[in-house]
Amino acid sequence: MELVFILGIPLCLAIVSLFLRRSGVFGILNAFGYLVILCVSLKLSFDITKNVTLFIPSTFFHIDALSAYFILLIALISFISSIYSIGYLASDVKEGAITERKASGYWMLYNLFAFTMFFVTVVNNLGVMWVSIEMTTLISAFLVGFYNTKKSIEAAWKYIIICSAGIVLAFLGTILLYYTVSRHGGINSLNWTDIVSVAGNLDPRVTKIAFLFILVGYGTKAGLVPMHTWLPDAHSQALSPVSALLSGVLLKTAFYAIIRFMIIVNKCVPVYYTQNLFIFFGIISLGIAAGFILVQKDIKRLLAYSSVEHIGIISIGLGFGGILGIYGALFHAFNHAVTKALMFLGAGSVVRKYKTSNMHLIKGVINVMPFTGVILILGAFALAGSPPFSIFLSEIMILTAGFQQGSYTGAILFLLFVGIIFAAIIYHFSKVIFGNKPQAIMVTHGQITAKLSLILLLILILIFGISIPVFFDKFILNAVEIIKG
C-alpha cells in the first residue's frame, strides 16, 4: 500500500503542476504532499523493523530494509528542500528572474526527479533500475540548466554526456551479469531477488569483471574521483534546493545501485576483492577532494567537492566492511545527506543575497544575515566532522572499523585527508562568515521557509550527533544484515 503513495504522489503532483498558473499556492500543496510521503516512508520503515510482511503489488517491485532506508532518506531531503524552494521560487518570481510558467515547469521537473529517484530504490529488475537512473540524469539535467545562463548550459551538457557515457559501462556490466546468471545460475530473469538466491554458483571471473564495469559506471553517477568531473559543475550551477537534492540524495541512489550489485558479487567472489576496490576509490576521492577544497574560490563548488569527499568516506566505510564499517557507511550516508542539504540551502540564500558565489567577495555574513550565518558556521563545523554533530560519530565508526580490520594505512590516510579538509573548510567559512559587512549589502531578514528548513536540518544533525534513536539504530542494523548477507 505504501508503494502506491510513494510513487503515486510525485506523479500526480507533477501532472497537477502543469495546469496550475500560480506557483506560490502549489508550492505549499507540494510541500504537504512530500510530508505525506515522509510519514508513509516512516511507517514503512517502522513496519520493516518489526518485519511485518508488506503488501507489494507484483514481483516487479521489491522493498527491503536497505531500499526502505534510502526511501526514507529521499523523502526527508525532498520534503525539506520542497519547503525551501517555496520561498526561493517566490522571491525569484518576484524579482522577475523567471516567469510564472517557468516556475510551474520547475515544480513539474522537481516532482519527476523525486519520482525517478523513488523508482530506482523500489524497482526489483536491475535493467529497469539502470533505465530509471538514466532517467534521473535526463530530468535533473533540465534542473541544472534551469537558468539558461552560459555556465549552467555548459554544466548541464557536461552532466548529461559524462553520466550517459558512464552509465553505458554500467549497462555492459549488467549484461555480463545477466550472462552468467542465465548461463551458470540457470534462471533467465534480472530480478534482484532471484539473482541473490542463485548468486552462489555464478562464474567468479565474469562477475569480477561485471562488478568493475558496474563500479565505474554507477561510480560516475555517484561521483567517485576519476569519474567525478561533472559533479562540481552541475552542483554549483543548479538552483540550491536542487543541488541539495542532487548531492544529498542522487549520489546516494547511485551508491544504492552499487551496493545492490556488491551484495550479489560478495556471494560468489571473496569479500576482499570488492573491499580493496572501495578503499582504493575512497582514498583517491578523499585526497583529490582535499586538494580541491583547499584552493577553492567558489562556495558552491567547495560544497560540491565536499560531497565527493563524503562519498569517498562512504565507500571507505564499505571498504572496511564488518558490521561497524557498513553501519558507519549507511549512517554516514544519512548524516551527509542532511548536513549537505543544510549547507547548500544556507549557501544558496547567502549567494542570492551577495549576488556572487566567489568567497573572496562574501564577507561578514553573520552581520548581514545573523540567522543563516550562525547556522552556516555550525553546519561548516558539522561538515568538517566536529563532535556535537552526527558526521563525527559516523566517521569515528568507520575509523574504528578500519583499525579493527587492521588496514592501518587506509585509516591513517583517512585521518590525514579529513584533517586537511577540516582545516580548509573552517578556513574558508570563517573568512566568509566573520569579518565586517561590505557597505553595499543591507541587513534584511530571510524568508520564513528558508529559516524553517534550516532549523529542521540543524535539529536533525544535533539529535543524531548526541545519540542515535533506538528505532533508527535497529532500522540500520536490518539494512546492514541484508548487505552482509
Binding site: 559501462l169 568493475l212 565505474v216 580541491f292 583547499l294 575509523l399
Partner: protein, 562 residues
C-alpha cells in the same frame, strides 16, 4: 548575552573533559571545548587578526585531536570498548613497540593542546585575541586539560614502558621553558607576552611530570611522587597567577585601549589596584619566595637535586643541567616581568591616550584582591596542599603513599632524603619582622626624615619628558644580543620626513624571526598548497578530457585488477 552562553558552555565542556569515564565521550567533550573556545577567540570578529588567530587555533587543535583519535582507536582494537577501565586492562596485552607508537601519538595530540614548543604556534595568536577573562581561563585551565589528558592516558592507563619517554618529555619541557621565556622577553604586546609565559610554565609543569616518569622507571617511588607533586602544584599555581595577570592585562586594555606596552607607562598612579595586582602576579610568576610560584619551583629543584643524588653518573649531570636551566628560566622570567611591570606601570605615560586611564571597576578590583589572596595563601599553605597532592600522585602511579610525607606540621615542608626544610610562613614572618625593625631603627636613630621632591636627575638638560625613558625594546636589547643565534633579529628604520630635506623623526622597529613558523610550518603549508594547485589541473574544463578519464580508468581496471 551570547558571550555568557559561550562562557558557560566553555566551562561545562572543560568540566566534562576531566570527569568523563568513556574515551568516546572524552573525545566529544574535548572537541566541543576546542570549538567553543574557537568561537570565544573569534568573539570580536570585526578584527581580521582574531579571525586568523581563531582559524590557526582550531586547525592546530583539530590536528592534535586526530592524533588522539588514532591512539584511542589502537587502544580500542585491543580493549574492545571505549571505557578507561577496559583501556587500562588492555594496556597489559599491547606489545611494547605498539605502546611506544601510542605514547608518541598521545604526546603529539595532547602536546598541541598544551602548547609544547614545536606545537605551540597557535598559543601566542589565540590567547591575546580572546576577551581577557576568557584568555585567563584558556591559559589557566584549558591548557591544563591537556596535562590531565597526558597524565590520565600516558601515565595512568598506558603505564610507562620505556625510560626514554620521561627523557623525551624532559627535553621537550626544557625546550618549551627556554623558547617560551625568550620569545616573551622580545614581546611588547602585554597579552601575547603572557601567552608565551604560559608556554614556559607548561614547560615547568612538564619538567615535574617528566622527572616523575623517569624516577618511576628507575623505581624510586618517593622521588616520583615528589616530582609529580611539584608538577601538579605548579599547575595550580600557574592557573592562579596567570589568571590574575591576564585579568590585569584586560583591565589595562579596557582602560587605555591598547595592549602595546611601548605606548603605556605611569599607570600605577592612575590604576593603583591593578598595579598592585599585576605586581603580585609578576612576583609569583618570577618565583619570589613568600608567594606560590616559588614553592613549586623550589620543589622541582629539590626533585632534580634528589634525582641527581640517587641516580647513576650520566643522569646526575642531566638532572643538574635541568635544574640550572630551570633557574635560568626563573631569572629570565624575572627580567621579563620587571620589563612588563616597569614599562607598563612605572615612570611617565608614553602616549597621550594613557593619561586619562581610569581605575578598574569594583567587580574587577574584587577579582584582583581575591586572586592576590589566593597567590599568598597557596604560597603559605604549601605544606597542607602537598599532603593532598601526595595522595593524588600516589593514585596516579598506583603506589601507596603512607610512608611519604613531605610536610611536618602544616607549616613547613621537609624533604627527608636531602634534609632540606622550607617554611614559607616562617620566611614571611622573619621578612616582615626584619623590615619592621629596620624601619623603626631608621626612624629612632636618624630622627624625622626630611623628604623634599624635585624632578629626576637630568644632567642639566632643562625639561625631561617621557621620550627619554627606557622603552621595552631597549630593555630587552641585551637579551636579544645574547640569544641572537636563536632569535635572528632584524630591524626596520623609517625616516618620517616633513619635507624632502628635513627629517622630522625616525621610526625604529625590531622584529624577531619565529624559527618554528618560518622553517617548520610555512614550508609544510606551502607544500600542501602547491600540491593542491597541481590537483586543480584535473578539472581543466574540457569535456573530452573528462570522458578520457572514464575510459582510461575502466581499461586500467580491467587489465590490471583481476
Amino acid at each position: 548575552m551570547l558571550g555568557w552562553l559561550l562562557f558557560a558552555g566553555f566551562v561545562l565542556s572543560m568540566a566534562l573533559v576531566v570527569t568523563v569515564g568513556n574515551a568516546l565521550i572524552f573525545l566529544i567533550a574535548w572537541e566541543i571545548m576546542s570549538m567553543i573556545s574557537y568561537f570565544l577567540v573569534i568573539f570580536d570578529h570585526t578584527h581580521e587578526k582574531s579571525v586568523k588567530a581563531g582559524i590557526i587555533y582550531i586547525v592546530m587543535t583539530h590536528i592534535g585531536t586526530a592524533f588522539i583519535i588514532a591512539s584511542f582507536l589502537i587502544l580500542f582494537k585491543y580493549a574492545g570498548s571505549f571505557d578507561f577501565a577496559a583501556f587500562k586492562s588492555a594496556s597489559r596485552t599491547i606489545p611494547p613497540n605498539l605502546k611506544h607508537i601510542i605514547f608518541l601519538l598521545l604526546l603529539v595530540g595532547f602536546g598541541t593542546k598544551a602548547g609544547i614548543v614545536p606545537l605551540h604556534i597557535w598559543l601566542p595568536y589565540a590567547h591575546p585575541q580572546a576577551p581577557s577573562h576568557i584568555s585567563s581561563i584558556m591559559s589557566g585551565v584549558m591548557i591544563k586539560t591537556a596535562i590531565y589528558g597526558m597524565l590520565r592516558f600516558i601515565v595512568f592507563i598506558l603505564g610507562i614502558e620505556g625510560i626514554w619517554w620521561g627523557n623525551l618529555i624532559l627535553i621537550l619541557a626544557l625546550l618549551s621553558c627556554l623558547v617560551g621565556v625568550i620569545y616573551a622577553l622580545m614581546e611588547h604586546d602585554l597579552k601575547r607576552l603572557l601567552a608565551y609565559h604560559s608556554v614556559e610554565n607548561i614547560g615547568i609543569i612538564l619538567l615535574g611530570i617528566g622527572a616523575s616518569m623517569v624516577f618511576l622507571k628507575m623505581n624510586l617511588p618517593v622521588l616520583a611522587v615528589l616530582s609529580l607533586c611539584a608538577g601538579l602544584y605548579h599547575l595550580i599555581n600557574h592557573a592562579i597567577f596567570k589568571g590574575l595577570l591576564f585579568l590585569c592585562a584586560g583591565a589595562v586594555y579596557k582602560a587605555t585601549g591598547t595592549r602595546n606596552i611601548e605606548k603605556l607607562g605611569g599607570l600605577i598612579k592612575m590604576m593603583p589596584w591593578t598595579a598592585a595586582a599585576f605586581l603580585t602576579g609578576s612576583l609569583a610568576i618570577s618565583a619570589i619566595p613568600p608567594l606560590n610560584g616559588f614553592v613549586s619551583e623550589w620543589l622541582t629543584l629539590q626533585a632534580f637535586f634528589l634525582g641527581a643524588l640517587s641516580s647513576p653518573g650520566g643522569y646526575k649531570v642531566f638532572f643538574s643541567i635541568c635544574a640550572s636551566l630551570l633557574a635560568l628560566t626563573g631569572g629570565l622570567t624575572a627580567a621579563c616581568f620587571v620589563k612588563a611591570f616597569g614599562i607598563t606601570f612605572l615612570a611617565l605615560p608614553r602616549s597621550k591616550g594613557v593619561t586619562e586611564a581610569k581605575e578598574a571597576t569594583f567587580s574587577m578590583k574584587f577579582a584582583f584582591v581575591f586572586m592576590m589572596l589566593l597567590t599568598v595563601l597557596f604560597g603559605l599553605a604549601a605544606a597542607f596542599i602537598i599532603k593532598l597532592l601526595v595522595k593524588v600522585s600516589g593514585f596516579i602511579f598506583g603506589l601507596n603513599t603512607e610512608g611519604m610525607n613531605f610536610s611536618i606540621n602544616n607549616f613547613s615542608l621537609a624533604i627527608p632524603q636531602s634534609g632540606a626544610y622550607l617554611s614559607t610562613p616562617l620566611i614571611a614572618i622573619v621578612f616582615a619582622a626584619i623590615a619592621g625593625i629596620c624601619f623603626l631603627c631608621v626612624h629612632l636613630f636618624a630622627g624625622r626624615s626630611r623628604i623634599g621632591s624635585y624632578n629626576t636627575w637630568d644632567c642639566g638638560y632643562y625639561n625631561l619628558d617621557a621620550r627619554t625613558e627606557y622603552t621595552a625594546t631597549a630593555f630587552s636589547k641585551p637579551f636579544r644580543i645574547a640569544f641572537n643565534f636563536f632569535l635572528l633579529p632584524y630591524s626596520k628604520t623609517e625616516k618620517i620626513r616633513e619635507s624632502f630635506y628635513h627629517v622630522k623623526s625616525f621610526k625604529y622597529e625590531v622584529f624577531t624571526t619565529f624559527i618554528f613558523r618560518r622553517y617548520v610550518y610555512d614550508p609544510i603549508i606551502s607544500l600542501v598548497l602547491l600540491a593542491a594547485k597541481q590537483t586543480r589541473k584535473i578539472q581543466a574544463g574540457s569535456i573530452h578530457m573528462y570522458l578520457a578519464y572514464i575510459l582510461i580508468t575502466i581499461l586500467l581496471l580491467i587489465f590490471f585488477y583481476r
